[in-house]
Subunit: 141 residues, 4 copies
């Protein structure tokens, strides 16, 4: 039986600025929310300041692959829950499962592959030891 993966969760209010003329979340805005979630996961759950990783250590985590299913709409004012868990930790890449739900209703599911890169060369590099250790520690909780 598969163990439940450890999840990082964060409540979020759907805002005017997220919504389109149809009155629902404009799908690229979901990806901005997801990027913010990954950023807070690194800073707050892994304990590695995301801004330092990029600006000081010049190490990036760009997205190389993204698979999204939008299963129900979200409207302005909805108080949703964003969630993140680690599916796979590779040598140079991290595969995340991300989601947005309101109560029991799943709004969106994303599988995102990030690759670790040098921001000087934009080439893939090994995930730094402290980041790797923090992710392993997070996943084993």
């Amino acid at each position: 039986m598969a163990a439940l993966r450890h999840m990082f969760e964060q409540p979020l209010r759907i805002r005017f600025a997220h919504c389109d003329p149809a009155g629902i979340v404009f799908f690229p805005q979901y990806l901005v929310m997801v990027n913010n979630l990954v950023e807070d996961w690194v800073t707050d759950a892994l304990g590695i300041r995301y801004a330092d990783l990029l600006a000081k250590r010049r190490t990036g985590l760009p997205t190389v692959s993204l698979h999204c299913e939008f299963t129900a709409i979200s409207r302005m004012g909805d108080e949703v829950m964003m969630g993140l868990s680690v599916e796979r930790l590779g040598q140079r890449s991290i595969t995340l499962q991300l989601g947005c739900r309101m109560g029991d209703e799943q709004r969106m599911s994303i599988r995102q592959v990030l690759v670790c890169t040098s921001l000087e060369t934009h080439r893939a590099i090994d995930i730094p030891a402290d980041l790797r250790g923090a992710i392993e520690n997070f996943s084993s909780n």
Copy 2:
């Protein structure tokens, strides 16, 4: 001697998504932050759900005038404080003073005039009585 105006404040983390290739906040993103602040002020401080005002009551608060001074840069990872106070409450318009500071350093100051409109006609209407009352109550605190 002028009394200090009552202020609605909210902490905010400057994110990757706010920043530009110069590594600092892209100025239109400040206006998205300001729009979010106004939204939360209406919902959380005035007690009138912003989403209902728009979607159910079809009453909007578009911006008609905006004066911004950007006095110091904000970088990714900065934990800033956003603030809002009411400068003037008209028959159909609201003038707000908004700001962003980090500690004692003022990053940005905005004077924004919102006008109350019908979303059916996009014409100015009187500010609804409950919204007016809540703003007067907020300002007199």
Copy 3:
């Protein structure tokens, strides 16, 4: 041998506003570009004004599924070519293949499923006859 699908193409300049602190396109901005491309395809290639479809006919084309591969970075100032072709036309859904390339270098590939909805109910509806006819005509060219 598979026939080459008819493609709608549009040049695009990668802008400051598309790029992140790493100096490359922020991936949600690619989705905004793709949304703009779909909009122009409907208006300019299919001959059905996208704004009328939404605002007057209250018919939407929200995204229900999205699969993106980001294979090479794009930098500010790059003059790229965006492309769109129709993979499948269903009763209520449209599957598109979208891409971004610079010269021969593929930067990004997307498979996007749009579903036709009523903007009154946000429920799936049959693709309107004129839109269906225009898509069939486009694909058979």
Copy 4:
């Protein structure tokens, strides 16, 4: 009698992605449009590649002051004309007049002060000679 200032103009289609749940342009999106216009003015009218100015020469043009009047709404699908002229060229700053109109109807007017900075220090520097010359040449046309 004041001479009419030389103007850089560019047509623009108001898009789904620019619009908010009220079905009109979300005001921070106007500022993104304005930033794009400034970028194209530098690259196409002044003949200095904006991306090189930033990425290679590490010279930025951040906004320090902004005064906007939104006088009429723009809706999705509107084909507007964006315009830019130079009000004042200082030692380290440029004051622009920007606007958006549809036919004879003025939608928005902006006065924007840009300051020339080093992207290494984020401090003001003199406007480079080639940029200054190109702006003088543009303004005297």
